[in-house]
Amino acid sequence: MRTLILTVLIVMFAALFLSLNSTTSLPAGLTNVVAASTAVDFSTGGCQAPPVLTYIIPSDIAASNSQANVNCMAWQDFIALNWQASISTCEADRSVPASKFGQPNNTAPVVWETFKEASEVFQENAAPPNVWCYQKGESNARRVSAIPAGYKVLGANVTQPNTNGAWLTDQNGNLTLYEIRLNQDEFNYIDQNQLYSAPIQKMFANGPGIDLPDGTAKFAQYGKTGSMEFKASWVELRDPSQWQYFKTSKAYIINQDRRVPPRLVTVGLVGLHVIHKTAKAPQFIWATFEHVNNAPSTADIQKNTLLPWYTYYNRNCDRQTDYYQCAANAQPRSQSPEHPQLPHHPADPHGAAIQVVRENPINDTMGDNIAGLNRWVWELIRQSNPQSVFLNYQLVDVSWSSAPASVPPGSRIPLTSGNPMPNPGTQKVVNTTMETYFQNTSTCLDCHASAPIAAAQKSKAFASDYSFLFSRASAPRSGKIVSSARK
């Protein structure tokens, strides 16, 4: 309780400071890369609930649906879910004060990292998942026999969707590694209704319909937060001097070649999608965050406002020596036939770096002042922990539906996208580490509105409430629909 009070006091002080000093100088504790930013606009964009440093996850958009309010909620989600976790409860460790938020060189898992990984829920033969916050390590499909608590296994997923298997290599020759997790509300819903089984999914979709919990009383048996999914991108950080700039974790990296034994390494978080379904957002709120040193934007390049270093961009790229001749966001031939920049995909070497460029610069207009909000939140964080690694993470953008609508039972794809904002025609919400190769072609709901249940026909399939995870469900080995005993 004392910690909570202290946290609240710190937050109040920080908020007061920010409100009184809207043009304060850049925080001294920022790493050089952040401090290199030239703009000085600090703004919450007029959101009704400015972010605070707390582990309490927001249950919905504050007051009214607006870009400013979803932007602030996205940051609040990020802060709460990146609080250091208690491994035993898979919730925030409430003994960790705000002054330790994002402490460098701390590889302890944060809250969302303790949530179920998708493969732990949707298993072969429709096997029931282990209970929430299973403590004995879930290693069956991971080829790592005993995972220490708080460690993770990466490497099973190294390609991006809808790209014919394109991968992303950083400037150090490391493959980007992906994982997808879901929170307890969504897990409970899937688990209690046995939706990890494809045949049951089909019956369920045709009956009550897949309607993921939104945190309201109607879904009380599943939780009060609302359904959340997380997609994270990581890179191995071989140089320990880099660890202080990243949210780091310990991970076993498994190789596609099963003969190669897993390697235990330190990885750094480079990207994080956070989606959250609430009563006010039945089409979910789609937020994405990135490490500030991932890649410059087209505007940064044009204005020559580059940072000293990037994980995915070489400031001194040499067309003569670069495998892809410094082509921005090189793509497989199938993705861009007119500009095939991965000339021998999929035989191109995994170790050849991709020159990544952000094609939708982060918005700094007053109506969607993501850049100003980032600075405001960094100042908030700095007040508590000037060394926080989260001073190096930025909200990229948030997509939300300005015409939200509940999804009727038995709905088939495509579901409504609910008139998403920002206008997806002109401003895509993408993460350069997860949608590297299609930054301009589709936005979150463009794809997810067509998310089907498992083993469905591509057209007219039952919808899975915007989640592609459901399509991972398999059928029981016997082919019969049985309710299996849980481990």
Partner: protein
């Protein structure tokens, strides 16, 4: 004989109002109370706090505008108690000149994309549901938004295809269809943003004017100084043009006057004795600006689509949106159909209504909401992330496409008088997108049509103004304050089984006749008239005026068994008003999108020499019914009698 305008300004009826205003000490917009820092608005300000005039003229305009906004707000709170259930006594909308705003109140922005979403919804190939049968390509969608036509595969210009009449609970494509509206020279641009495109002889866009200014303001400005209005038109339409540009226009006062459709002579406003402003004049008409010397015409100076009025934004939309409904407010389509205050599938109204409803339902005891002062609709700066300029060695260093978006009227920022901090958005009233004159002087040879914007990943040269519109939003600001008690939700709006007569719009009869008999061309070819672009504002009368001929547009009027007309009164017994005749009419009520049936009462009005000054209500009572609720602020009694405003 009407007095000249200068005399009118000095000694006329509202000249005295200026003195009252000056005595009120309006130099500061903030009224601090002795013992608290709560805020009480002293007067409503002009949109974006713009000051188009100076000295006494500006003071006069300020007072006229304040009266308009006070009237709109009173009407908003009253709602519709006459023929609808669940739409009356909307007291969770508050009048900031009477209600204290607590210290610490922060403004909320409500914003939406400026592109007319119903064009996407009903004709586009995107994924909007329910699907439409047309699936027109994106280029046709932009062309429709720009011009009201699209070019089909054979090269033929086609107007908007027909769309469903029934839009609740969802668009019913299997039911009856009707022409796409709103009608009018650019009526389909109905997201509180309209634009006009100028092209060169090669057909390339050279300039686009974007406006979100409400028509009521320009009428008020005209009443004070028509010559200044003409000057502002000219200055605005010529803004940023290089010296000697052939695109420069000359705007005359006569260009802006309404002519009688029968005689061709200027229509005189009995309230002022001077010619009336024509909102669809040659420089504020349609989506195309022709700039070719003497035959130049067209342009955009303020909103002209019939639903794009400020009065309706407050009365029919914002205030109704403060009524909580039993079905909640998570679904704006459902909420809007329930509250009957939106045209479904617009970007703006459903979202505005939902946002206000959510604001009212927020807080431990609920909230009251008012649109923040200065009340208005404001353009937000575009997202330029997808813009790209052609390569040109003459481009100044550091030049970007953002330099082409130039604010002509309004401002980029404005201080919120309550919080003392910047509002969280822009206050742009009129912007143009054109090549800066400095670029042209530096030798830059490309034009707007050579600049490109990304759409779904494809970089496309600007062929349509709509491509730019897609990149910005329109917004308004709201002040939410705590309510004393949560509002009990109400059922959906329905027609009352025993309706009373509803007063809607009062006008001088001569003005009405001129407007109603003036047809308005539109691409849809639907028969409409200028009355739909008239105003619902208090009609100014002077003490001592007698036998004034006016008309009162009404609904749900019933006659007595012997044809008895409804009775009319102005509470206070110092103004007489009597109906002399009734007839049925059909028009688009100003602020609405589609035509409906109304009754038009011809009335005679007399004002005693000692009549109470200020805004006055009108009560209309059907024969045999008990008196109902007066309609607020239909008249404004000015302090003095003005020569020339007598029986006509």
């Amino acid at each position: 004989m009407p007095m000249d305008r200068r005399t009118f300004l000095k000694t006329g009826p509202i000249g005295i109002a200026v003195a009252i205003l000056a005595a009120r000490g309006q130099s500061s917009n903030r009224a601090f109370l002795e013992k608290s820092k709560d805020f009480l608005l002293s007067h409503f300000s002009t949109p974006a706090n713009i000051k188009d005039l100076q000295g006494p003229e500006q003071a006069l305009l300020d007072e006229l505008w304040h009266l308009n906004l006070d009237a709109f707000t009173q009407q908003a709170i009253c709602g519709n108690p006459w023929n609808k259930s669940g739409m009356a006594n909307e007291t969770y909308y508050y009048n900031p000149i009477h209600t204290l705003i607590p210290e610490g109140t922060q403004p909320a922005i409500v914003s939406w994309n400026a592109f007319p979403n119903r064009i996407n919804q009903f004709f586009g190939a995107a994924t909007a549901l329910p699907s439409n049968p047309y699936n027109l390509p994106q280029s046709s969608i932009w062309e429709l938004a720009d011009s009201g036509f699209y070019t089909d595969k054979t090269g033929r210009k086609e107007p908007f295809p027909q769309v469903p009449k029934k839009l609740c609970p969802q668009a019913d494509w299997r039911g009856g269809l009707h022409p796409f509206g709103p009608y009018g020279p650019r009526g389909w641009q109905d997201e509180y943003c309209e634009w006009s495109v100028t092209r060169n002889s090669q057909g390339k866009i050279t300039r686009v004017d974007f406006v979100c200014e409400n028509p009521e303001y320009w009428h008020a400005l005209w009443r004070v100084n028509p010559a200044k209005v003409a000057q502002l038109y000219q200055d605005t339409l010529n803004f940023g043009l290089p010296k000697g540009s052939s695109s420069a226009v000359t705007v005359r006062v006569e260009d802006l006057q309404l002519s009688d459709p029968r005689t061709g002579k200027p229509v005189i406003d009995p309230s002022t004795g001077f010619p009336v402003y024509n909102p669809l004049n040659k420089w504020n008409r349609g989506p195309v600006a022709l700039r070719s010397g003497a035959s130049s015409s067209g342009g955009a100076m303020h909103l002209s689509s019939t639903p794009n009025t400020l009065q309706t934004e407050l009365v029919s939309l914002a205030a109704v949106a403060t009524v909580l409904r039993e079905m909640g407010n998570n679904d704006p389509q459902e909420l809007g159909c329930c509250s009957q205050n939106i045209l479904p599938y617009r970007n703006s109204d459903p979202h505005i209504a939902q946002s206000i409803n959510q604001l009212v339902s927020s807080g431990s005891s609920g909230s009251l909401v008012s649109v923040a002062n200065p009340v208005g609709l404001y353009m937000q700066k575009p997202y330029f992330g997808g813009y790209s300029l052609p390569e040109d060695p003459k481009l100044p260093k550091g030049a970007t496409a953002a330099d082409c978006f130039q604010i002509v009227r309004g401002s980029e920022t404005l201080i919120d008088p309550v919080s003392g901090q910047n509002f969280p958005g822009n206050f742009i009233l009129h912007a143009v997108f054109q090549i800066p004159a400095s670029w042209i002087e530096a030798g830059v040879s490309f034009t707007v049509g050579d600049i490109a914007i990304k759409h779904n990943g494809v970089t496309i040269p600007i062929e349509w103004g709509a491509q730019i519109v897609e990149t910005f939003q329109i917004g308004l600001f709201a002040w939410r304050i705590p309510a004393s008690a949560p509002q009990p939700p109400q059922a959906c709006v329905t027609d009352l089984k025993q309706p009373q007569a509803q007063p809607i719009q009062l006008m001088h009869e001569s003005l009405w006749n001129a407007c109603y008999n003036t047809p308005v061309d539109n691409p849809a070819g639907v028969s409409i008239n200028l009355a739909s672009n008239s105003l619902i504002v208090p009609v100014q009368v002077q003490r001592g005026a007698t036998d004034l001929s006016m008309v009162l547009v009404c609904q749900t009027v019933t006659l007595g068994p012997n044809g008895e007309l409804p009775s009319l009164t102005v509470p206070g017994s110092d103004i007489t008003i009597k109906a002399t005749h009734i007839k049925n009419i059909r028009y688009v009520q100003p602020g609405h999108s589609f035509a409906a049936d109304f009754q038009l009462l011809t009335v005679k009005v007399g004002v005693s020499k000692s009549a109470r000054l200020g805004l006055r209500d009108i009560l209309i009572t059907n024969f045999g019914q008990p008196p109902g609720t007066p309609g607020p602020a239909f008249l404004y009694v000015a302090p003095d009698r003005m020569e020339g405003v007598t029986a006509r």
